[in-house]
Amino acid sequence: MVSEMNLVKLKRFILSPYTLFIVAILIPPLFVVDPFWVNRLSLYLVFSVLALSMSLCWGYAGILSLGHGVFFGLGAYCMAMSLKLLSPDSLTQGTPFPLPDFIVWNTPPGEALKLPWLWVPFQNQWFGLVAALLVPALFAALVGWFVFYGSVSGVFISIITLSMVVILNLVIIDQQPLTNGFNGLNNLAMFNVGGFEFDPYGLPTYYLIAIACALTLLGTRWLTQTKAGLIFKAIQADEQRVKYFGYDIAAYKIFALSVSAMIAGLAGVLFVINSQYASPTIMDVTLSIAIVIWVAVGGRDSLIGAAVGAIAINAIQNVLSESESLINVWRLLLGILFLLVVMFLPKGLASLGSLLQRSPSVTTDTATPVEAVDSQPLKLLSQVEPRK
């Protein structure tokens, strides 16, 4: 009897979409030989980590951030700066300490060359890695503290995060001597663990990213099933009621945003390992909204949906933009697809599954209770209603 139960559980575990997804992302390198495609597939996985971060924040905690690029970008810049300082061209500038080439260009003639104090600790790769996770999380906590302890709600959070990404983008571009501005950081060293270099085109890098992606998926899933995860959903369903139960709603929201930002920072790290590059265009409005699109299309309240959405949209985008006949219209097609999904499949492609199935039973599965989410937009609307 017991063993049979376990067998059922085991079967469920193996057939669960989570397991299948993880197996699926581990398989492709066995078939793909082209190093470019190994690299590109791992880039898709980086974006799916980013989508998981958005799904946690938007689908579960109800915070639609239009500035997630900031967290991604901060993570990427921290990591990239460390790898920049370790790259050959920083070590061969004729200074006794590693100095990025752009600091040489940007130092006005006649002034002494020095590494800005901000970057001094980044000479250690592990400091860069830790900073890439903590800086976005702390920044998010700060933003969250500012926003959620005020009476800011619903769409206004989106507008604030949108302004935030515009501001940070302007600052990064303007502070050229510190950040190399619009050109960004390139020519980076490879990520190095105990002497082993992660070549972006090699299988080890693919598996590094795939495993990080799998762990993020399991981690976010675990989080959504803890008490905190339940409270996120409850807040979405009825914020007032949760408040009257004595929960500090703002604290929970700050927590959700910070965790989400840290995951976005992790995605930034993986992006840099994959692409050896960081620039202001990875922390701009376009990318921030693109993340929302991936998640909206995939399914905002399904972690798997979001992850698959990111992979699918990026794959479609690449296929369209690289086919000769569609090179001019791919953005149009993408816009139409997005519009259709928002209008007719508000829960994204992930809801196609539940559309087919009419059973009302609420399971402990990935699906969020339907009633709870449905009432959310109305709720938000009533909060935003300009006047009484």
Binding site: R12, L15, S16, P17, L20, F21, A24, P28, F31, V32, V33, D34, P35, F36, W37, R40, L41, L43, F102, V104, W105, T107, P108, P109, A112, I173, D174, Q176, G181, F182, N183, G184, N186, N187, S275, Q276, Y277, S279, T281, I282, T286, V308, I311, A312, A315, V319, S321, E322, I327, N328, L349, L352, G353, S354, L356, Q357, S359, S361, T363, D365
Partner: protein
Amino acid sequence: MKRRVFVQNLAVSAALTAMAGCVRSATSSTSGATGSDIKVGILFSLTGGLEIVEKSMHDATLMAIEEINQAGGVLGRKLTPVIEDGASDPRIFAEKARKLLISDKVATVFGCYTGASVKAVLPVFTQQRGLLYYPTYAQGNECPSHAIYTGAVPNQQVSNFIPWIMKNLHAKRFFLVGSNYVFPREMAKVAKIMLKQNGGEFVADEYLPLNHTEWGPLVSKIKQLKPDAIFSNVVGTSTVAFYREFKNQGLKPEDIPICSTVTSEVETQAIGSEFVEGHYSSFPYFQSVSTPVNKDWVAKVKQKFGNNAVTHHAMECSYWQVHIFKQAAEKAQSLEPEKMRTASLGLEYEAPGGLVKIDPDNGNAWLTPRIGQCQADGQYKIVDEGKAPIKPLPYVAYGETTGNLYCTAKGLDTAKFKPQEQS
């Protein structure tokens, strides 16, 4: 429950199949590398904002490829362009460069316009030992080992310009303005060094973000500081707002001329010639160059892209560099990028703007400096012209001279290049 699991499995397996599809297309594209055709990559922005300039460069490249194919191709083989869209985003440029080199295995890549995009792709070319032909005027201060630069460098665009302005426009006090990224800032730095050498001065330097639209405050600043001339490195859509605001605030080219290293025929067309008339630009090529080759070429461009089409410096380079590539492949008798780069050095071609030559030392182009003044019809009257093509010196602002080269075929001589000692 069961049905749900089934449906979800279905979704996952669909995703898997889709991935498998990618895999198959990936492998098939690698096997396609060994055809009788020669694959060349074309990498400009076709979307995202910068296509306003880059589309014409893309077109000019395709035009040259078509001509070469009609004349029998390269080494008896036809050129097949692999077109990629850089989407005005350096990140995408880097990604597409990787695709072209690693996956498509192209013989060479023609592409890039902004300095940011070229900086993003260069490490890829070095790493993968590819070859990039880059057709845009640049800020210099670069010595790439896996690229040929066919646009102007500062000694062909600024070295002649600043003394000319000071002498002929009687300007001493300059206002420097540019977009906020590496190219304009580096150009401004070059200009400052040259102003100092020539006894001029600058009253201010300002950098506004790309795509900045509100130029009111900046132009009123110019109005209050009353410089003798403006040295402008404003790029892209911002030029429109800048020149229009300038005239709208009542400033005239006779009093304060805008002297630009960026505003070419294509920008002028968008700004409206009535706003640019009287201002100056410095380029090695203008549509009004009166060589027979150019007249021919302009006629062909108009026939192909309509009577409104204009030609400009970066577009001209995009066109003739493909012909240099053909010569290089034939000289090297090989499509191996590093051999082709070596073969490119020293090649000459009768381009629309006159004779051009790839410098044997630094892989930039010998070009003829020219200064043009915009006329009412949007064309530039050439008011000053070098006698012959001059040698490119990418480090001219840092003391490089024809007798003392910093960038040679061996790479950058860091013993000579001391950026900090310039004052």
